[in-house]
């Protein structure tokens, strides 16, 4: 929808031009920002012209630009030794939105929106990803700590999520995935990922809690239009036990 309070859109091409006045926010694909009224939003700084390479393979793993679209991520031809890669497809398909949205929506935008059901939050939490934040100074935050609540995260005004990093050890791990919603393709009620590590299984739990967790033993279960708290907790516990068996 038209954002009627927005008075200016900036399209920077260099980091120096990334300047945020009061009331300004970074713009990724726009698929969430333009989907609701945004009271108080007076300006947008469009990151899409920054020209960040969407996906960069390094010795340490994979760097995903915040502006990488879901369609670009899906289309990436991952090396066969990246056994965790099916999780990408599973998480992108967990998005409530359709493939038409994938053409615009970005990995960083999904995480910065910080909805409990954020499918890219689930992916990056599941793969122990970290977030590189441009600010003064720059900083790196584990994605599990990046999202702090329903629609809240660690970004300060003026900071920008630059990229996400997935370590090679995660990409070459074995993974498991479970998800349930109140309807076959509905918004996530709970999403549980599992990943093999030298120290045992690492779980990622999103969707049913206001922020990501690694264990079902937490007090963040909530009730909304996408499921009751008790059901979300029970389904998560069921999935953890199923995945434990599956990856044993």
């Amino acid at each position: 929808m038209d954002l009627i309070t927005v008075r200016e859109i900036r399209v920077p091409r260099t980091r120096d031009e990334l300047v945020f006045d009061e009331g300004f926010q970074p713009l990724g694909g726009g698929t969430w920002l333009y989907s609701e009224e945004q009271p108080g939003l007076t300006g947008l700084v469009d990151l899409m012209a920054m020209g960040w390479p969407p996906l960069t393979v390094t010795d340490e793993g994979l760097e995903i630009a915040a502006t990488c679209t879901l369609a670009q991520l899906l289309a990436f031809d991952a090396p066969p030794e990246w056994t965790a890669w099916p999780l990408v497809d599973q998480c992108v398909n967990s998005l409530l939105a359709s493939f038409k949205i994938w053409n615009l929506a970005t990995v960083g935008g999904n995480i910065c929106t910080s909805l409990p059901a954020g499918a890219m939050t689930a992916l990056l939490v599941g793969l122990d990803g970290t977030a590189q934040i441009w600010g003064s100074p720059d900083r790196t935050v584990p994605v599990i700590d990046f999202v702090t609540g329903d629609r809240t995260n660690v970004l300060e005004h003026g900071e920008v999520l630059r990229s996400l990093h997935i370590p090679l050890s995660s990409l070459t791990a074995r993974t498991g995935f479970r998800r349930i919603a109140l309807s076959p393709l509905g918004r996530t009620g709970t999403l549980v990922t599992a990943r093999t590590t030298p120290h045992g299984l690492a779980f990622g739990i999103t969707g049913g809690t206001v922020r990501p967790h690694t264990s079902t033993d937490n007090g963040d279960w909530f009730t909304d239009a996408h499921g009751a708290a008790d059901w979300r907790q029970a389904m998560s516990e069921l999935f953890v036990s199923e995945l434990t068996e599956e990856l044993a």
């Binding site: 009627i4 989907s35 899409m48 359709s98 038409k100 349930i180 076959p184 239009a225």
Partner: protein, 857 residues
């Protein structure tokens, strides 16, 4: 910036924050629809440089140099894209408002694509998706014949699929003003003071309307043939606010954005009043009164008890009937608030004609009734008013209301300018009336051989802050749901109660679905208790020709007749079709059925006049008053006229739903489009054929047909399900879905199949998924992403079977079949889930979390 739309260069300067959808429509590209404006529904889908996107969330500042393709760019009426041709041939649409976006999306698919996944971003509220799948797979469901009884194509089909059929707002109007509404932040309050000076000072604002501008006339947003059927409890703008979101004031400005920005500049002081949200509390002593200020002229039954309407009636003695019973079952069931989610939101554009007469182009099921009530409210001469609809993008009862027309009238009269008021999707969820939430207690008694000895029903409806349809919905709800059963002892207690929740209104089935859910669930319990097959239990108790059709009063209905009877066939058709099916490992399976009866048209008069004229160009001009909103009546009217005249349907030109044609019609509700207006059409066309035969010439001939909506017949539906349920998660998988319908002689089998599939899909939404929730009067489900209407993935194929009957009353033996298919679905599904789980679900929706809890208990 420059870009192209459908190959044509466009030069535009988008506003900061503007999206592609609104920019396209501002440039008169009306193939792009607004269904949600939030990226959820897909009605605005376009292709940008080869990639399909939702234009309502596509930032317009990125358009430099791109090529945009809309449905109109894919093909035209003369040269359609193959996908567009396929949608016409498959009858892959009903109202067609989603179709342009659906066609755009479909044009980007590849063979082998999983349609459930690929179409999850394209919502259709009418069809149930089977015909859309057929279209994409190249299945042809229509025939070239235009005889009644053939699966003729909808006359507007090719325009719908190419995006060229104009809907309500699909026309250019110069110097149009826009209206935005300030909604009440309180559930119950009185406006102490209101100052509009700051708002008026904003550049581009032309007027601010408050209760001081409103006519002091009480009316009802609900519309019926008799205006006294509904309570006069509403003002255009009222100093007392009775639900959150109720109009406080309206701004008329150069743009929607300016009007909305001006809302923040209206200064209001409220006196907050106590509010009540639970209908049981509302009718209890000491509750805050919602309409305590109203007198007898408002026709509210007991305003001092918040009771809008009540019915307490008994036939025979339920106490004696229960005493004589070998088995007694009892239970309480609840149904939730449901939103219609017609893809086209409510909208009206109004202006003054060259003689100063008021003209309204509106998304309504009842243009004549809207005209007459506006004349009443504003003291206007109906002869100097014109109210008309273009093709309406879905209704389901939600547009049998005045929700936008009155404010537009006030704004046009105040400013003298053309003014538009368009609901947002959030408005649809927060201020448009919903289905009535209900609580129904049923007690049944029967002998050991399964003969009913007593039926008792106690219903409580939450009609919300304004009464509108709350009287009719209550009376109708306890009507055919009970009169379908032959039982000497029946008792009904029903009350429709005001609260400070948003108003409830007319919704497909008009109250029947709520009561049928409870009664048919109780009948299922009774069958279990007695060890009698549920089909057989129905056979032993349903009325058959010769039985009186009564709820509790022997003479309550004077004109309801057995024009035909196919309930026995429907029961057998479904019973024979249902076969036991295995579910996944670890899941439990079950079967269930339910029946529903409905009168073929509304009571107390439904009038239609039609005129058919031989035009100079050799066509036949058929003027009808009723509206097309996806019900397919236009197709059937063309078939009826063509059949009577012995000409192809493409020789019939239909001019409809416009008070300027002068052919009155009560409106498109109560499933009256075929049996009332259609009967009038057939009478007119038959009379014209006789005149042609008598005169041997065509020149200047014309004939009129009328129908007054009485006597009425009865129609039947039986639904059966086979399901699997996962007790560990609450998931339900529908393994088989069968519905048999007794619609008399079927006028258009493909369209009727579509109505039944669409009603089934909408009812599956109500049964499993949809729920509009409120928290202390505030709606919390305010967008489609938080209110789950069925997607392609959610709707199973339903086998549709027709009883072989011929109705003595309907046109060519036809009966109505628009609302009815919805009614048996939820109880049939609940009965199947009960059969599988061994525990009965009593509350809608039967969501996964609830069923999991039920299975775990």
């Amino acid at each position: 910036m420059r870009f192209t739309v459908d190959g044509t260069p466009v030069e535009a300067t988008p506003r900061p924050g503007q999206v592609l959808r609104s920019l396209l429509r501002e440039n008169d590209h009306f193939a792009v629809k607004k269904g949600c404006d939030a990226g959820d529904c897909g009605a605005c889908s376009v292709i940008v440089d080869g990639e399909p996107v939702h234009s309502c969330i596509y930032p317009a500042h990125r358009l430099e140099g791109v090529a945009v393709t809309t449905a109109a760019g894919l093909g035209s009426v003369e040269h359609p894209h193959p996908v567009q041709q396929a949608f016409v041939d498959a009858a892959g649409f009903q109202c067609g408002f989603c179709t342009a976006g659906m066609v755009v999306t479909a044009s980007t698919l590849s063979p082998g694509d999983d349609l459930a996944v690929k179409l999850k971003g394209n919502l259709c509220r009418c069809t149930g998706y089977r015909s859309i799948e057929d279209a994409i797979c190249g299945v042809v469901n229509t025939s070239a014949s235009s005889e009644a009884g053939a699966s003729s194509k909808a006359p507007a089909g090719m325009r719908v699929v190419t995006g060229s059929e104009p809907y309500t707002l699909d026309l250019a109007t110069t110097s149009l003003l826009h209206l935005a509404v300030l909604g009440s932040p309180h559930s119950h309050a009185r406006i102490q003071s209101i100052s509009v000076e700051r708002a008026l000072g904003l550049e581009g604002v032309h007027a601010v309307l408050t209760h001081l501008d409103s006519p002091d006339v009480l009316f009802s947003t609900a519309r019926h043939e008799l205006r006294t059927d509904d309570p006069d409890d509403t003002r255009v703008l009222d100093p007392v606010l009775r639900f959150q979101g109720q109009r406080v004031a309206a701004v008329v400005a150069d743009s929607v954005a300016i009007a909305e920005l001006a809302l923040d500049l209206i200064d209001v002081e409220y006196e907050i009043l106590p509010a009540v949200f639970d209908p049981e509390q509302a009718r209890s002593a000491g509750a805050p009164l919602v309409h305590g200020d109203k007198g007898p002229e408002s026709r509210i039954d007991e305003p001092q008890r918040n009771v809008l309407a009540q019915l307490h009636g008994e036939m025979g003695s339920v106490a004696e009937g229960l005493a004589a019973a070998d088995a007694v079952v009892t239970g309480t069931w609840t149904t939730q608030r449901v939103s219609h989610v017609a893809l086209e939101t409510h909208a009206t554009r109004g202006w003054l004609d060259e003689h100063g007469g008021l003209v309204l182009r509106t998304s309504s099921q009842v243009p004549y009734l809207v005209r007459d009530e506006l004349a009443h409210i504003f003291s206007l001469d109906p002869a100097r008013m014109r109210v008309f609809t273009a093709r309406v993008g879905g209704g389901f009862g939600g547009k049998q209301e005045i929700l936008t027309e009155d404010l537009v009238t006030l704004a046009v009269l105040k400013t003298g300018r053309a003014v538009q008021y368009e609901f947002t999707r959030e408005d649809e969820f927060t201020i448009a009336p919903t289905r009535h939430p209900s609580r129904v207690t049923v007690t049944l008694g029967a002998t050991a051989d399964g003969v009913l000895t007593a039926m008792q029903v106690d219903e409580l409806l939450d009609t919300g802050a304004y009464g509108n349809h709350g009287i009719g919905v209550m009376f109708h709800g306890v009507g055919e749901s009970l009169s379908v059963y032959r039982c000497a002892n029946k008792r009904v207690d029903a009350e429709s109660v005001y609260t400070n929740n948003l108003p409830s209104g007319a919704f497909r089935g008009y109250g029947l679905g709520q009561v049928i859910f409870a009664v048919e669930s109780a009948m299922d319990d009774l069958a279990r208790e007695l060890g009698i097959d549920p089909f057989e239990l129905r056979r032993r108790n349903v009325i058959v020709p010769g039985d009186p059709i009564v709820v509790t009063e022997a003479d309550e209905e004077h004109d309801l007749l057995y024009g035909s009877y196919g309930l026995d066939q429907c029961l057998s058709l479904v019973q024979e079709a249902l076969v036991p099916t295995d579910g996944p490992v670890g899941w439990v399976t079950g079967q269930g059925m339910a029946l529903a009866m409905i009168a073929s048209m509304p009571p107390r008069g439904h009038f239609a006049e039609t005129v058919i004229t031989v035009a100079d160009d050799g066509y036949f001009d058929l003027r009808v008053g009723t509206a097309e909103f996806g019900n397919g009546t236009t197709t059937v009217h063309a078939q009826l006229a063509a059949t009577a005249l012995g000409v192809p349907a493409d020789r019939i030109r239909i001019l409809q739903s416009d008070t300027a044609t002068g052919t009155y019609d009560t409106g498109a509700f109560g499933s009256a489009g075929v049996v009332v207006a259609g009967k009038a059409v057939f009478a007119a066309a038959t009379a014209l054929a006789e005149k042609i035969a008598a005169s041997g010439s065509l020149v200047g001939l014309s004939a009129t047909g009328r129908h007054d909506g009485t006597p009425r017949s009865i129609a039947f539906n039986v639904h059966g399900f086979s399901v699997a349920v996962n007790p560990a998660t609450g998931e339900v998988r529908i393994l088989q879905s069968v519905q048999a319908a007794d619609a008399g002689t079927v006028m258009n089998p493909e369209q009727l199949r579509g109505q039944i599939e669409g009603g089934t899909a909408q009812a599956i939404g109500s049964a499993l998924y949809e729920q509009l929730t409120l928290d202390e009067g505030r709606v919390t489900t305010r967008a489609l992403r938080n209110y789950h209407v069925p997607q392609f993935a959610d709707v199973p194929r339903t086998t549709v079977l027709f009883a072989d009957t011929h109705d003595d009353l309907g046109p060519l033996g036809a009966k109505s079949m628009s609302e009815a298919p919805y009614n048996p679905v939820a109880p049939a599904l609940a009965n199947a889930i009960r059969d599988a789980l061994g525990v009965r679900p009593r509350d809608l929706p039967m969501s996964r979390d609830r069923l999991w809890r039920l299975a775990s208990s």
